[in-house]
Amino acid sequence: MSDDTLSTGLPQPEGPANLIETDYEVGQDNIETSLGPFGLDIHNPVFVISGLSVVAFVVLTLAFQNQVDPLFNGLRGWLTSTLDWFFLAAANIFVLLCLVLIVTPLGKVRLGGRDATPDYTYMGWFAMLFAAGMGIGLMYFGVSEPISHFTSSLGGTAVENGVRTDWAPLGGAAGDEQAAANLGMAATIFHWGLHPWAIYAIVALSLALFSYNKGLPLTIRSVFYPIFGDRIWGWTGHVIDILAVFATLFGLATSLGFGASQASAGLEFLYGLPNTDTFQVILILAITAVALMSVVAGLDAGVKRLSEINMVLAMLLLAFVIIVGPTLAIITGFFTNLGVYLADLPALSMPFGREDANFSQGWTAFYWAWWISWSPFVGMFIARVSRGRTVREFIICVLLIPSAVCVLWMTAFGGTAIHQIVNDGFQGVADAGQDFKLFVMLSQYPLAAVTSFVAIVLVIVFFVTSSDSGSLVIDTITAGGKVDAPLPQRVFWCTFEGLVAIALLLGGGLGALQAMAVSTGFPFTIVLLLACFAIVKGLMDEPRD
């Protein structure tokens, strides 16, 4: 009865032969009900347990702050100092697997089936994965992190009782400004380049593969099907999904809380606006309100459009810094930094026998845990928008291109700041507080009022896109992988995230719960290692041509 000419625009996934045989129906454990005018379609018990345990954690943190703070910060510190080798080794495995997938025939597998066509253009796709992946981080750390590593490298090493007390990467570069600059840039790019993007790529690839090609629901537990089989529909899967909701919600809420205080400090520095609790709460409410509008507008009209606007703004800011800054130094610096990054990569990523423990544990292991705790959120969002790409195309665009952009971004922003210190003798950036370094760097060039304003807008819109895409991801997980659950649920999660951020900002506990969110990086590292196995196993069964 079907009229093929009327069914245009329909991607044709490969036949049902490659679907995983399971009796599970997407949404079978869901409760469909309504609350006033709002229809609900939620997973039982993931939605309820996630929501209630988030509330319980917030209440306990507010009530027992003096006990909770050392507990979670201690846990985070213990994990990154004791298990640093585990995080470093795992991240190396992720990078290697991605690179192997590019060159082997497995790279030919198409996500969504042999004949699937991409859902988004390169421009829209790239804008979304960049905004979700590290947009805000680049704004905050683009200037400050290279300066930190440059300064500690220049200071050289210091040993007390046979243990290094300095924070320099590797052996440092005492007194040698050029070597310190190179090492500082290599260390920064190491934290923002291949490794974090490989972490995201592994999660995104496994979710996309098991959902679009194997027909399992788009939720974290599906990745474990090859290992646990039908048990993932029970408590094993519930726990994995709840942990993912937990990490995502607290990761987003705490960074929204910290982000509001940082943006507020920036606005005070630039325009003399009052940096008070009230103002910060207003900022969170405003960001949440814009995010809600974006949520209601949907994926295409909301988060995609905002991501595209932000990518254009970020590129303009980058081009501006390259043109008015030390242009030649930035262009040559791009290749120099890429070179020193690749040259130092084996030493920087070595999991064992490190002498620079402060750096490798305090910076690298912390970053890896942090990226991994974000990966369920970012990975799932990337999976959502990546249907129709081949595995090779996917990894090139999720791993190599963003890494190259990070090299350019860090060179332009961090390299320029180092250039100001070394060549211009301007110490302003080094002396400025963490939140102001970017603005102090921009203040040395024309149109500082305009560029600083653009930077503030970028930070705020990146928060909006994170909040929006985060609600989308949490909603899908708590609806048992259904992507068409009623919209009010997404509105609920977006509002909930804003409220948690406000409660923690006013009551204290942002630091404690962020430490807790980062600590979830440990269980998720195990999850990701299993995902590597699942990806290879899953890809082997797919047709490749």
Binding site: M1, S2, D3, L6, S7, T8, G9, L10, P11, Q12, P13, G15, P16, L19, E25, V26, G27, G36, P37, G112, G113, D119, Y120, S211, Y212, G215, L216, P217, L218, V295, V296, A297, G298, L299, D300, A301, G302, R384, V385, R387, G481, K482, V483, D484, A485, P486, L487, R490
Partner: protein, 140 residues
């Protein structure tokens, strides 16, 4: 009077569609019009199928069943939406345009007390009636 009747169908709630489907079949016979069922699915696995292809199979099967029951021909049109929860109204409107329907017959709930206060966010039937160029028959 009418040449092409579009009937948006939600396979997950097929039990609530009977009246709209019966109405569309009667109108089709009366005016000698064609009937097309429009279904919207996401690319990700959902209750309607594991992938868009499977969803289309289900939609075709549903259409064939109704065609047999009513003794009319029924075509199908499956739309793959990036975000069905948020974009359903837009996707349906675009699909109605694309198949060139001049009448839309669609099911909607009976307005209750909340609908009086909920004009900002009308039902899918309400959105269709507001924006479509075709005639719209909202079945309650």
């Amino acid at each position: 009077m009418y040449k092409m009747i579009a009937v948006p169908v939600d396979l997950a709630h097929a039990d609530k569609l009977k009246k709209a489907i019966d109405t569309s079949a009667d109108l089709a016979k009366l005016y000698g019009a064609q009937v097309t069922y429009i279904g919207v699915t996401a690319a990700a696995p959902g209750s309607g199928g594991h992938n868009p292809d499977e969803y289309r199979t289900h939609l075709d099967a549903f259409a064939a069943e109704q065609a047999k029951a009513h003794g009319i021909g029924v075509a199908t049109h499956a739309v793959v939406s990036h975000d069905p929860a948020a974009n359903l109204d837009r996707d349906l409107l675009a699909a109605v345009d694309e198949i060139g329907a001049d009448l839309v017959v669609m099911a909607s709930h009976t307005p209750g007390a909340v609908d009086r206060f909920w004009h900002l966010w009308p039902s899918h039937g309400g959105a269709m009636a507001t924006h479509a160029t075709a005639s719209v028959f909202v079945v309650r």
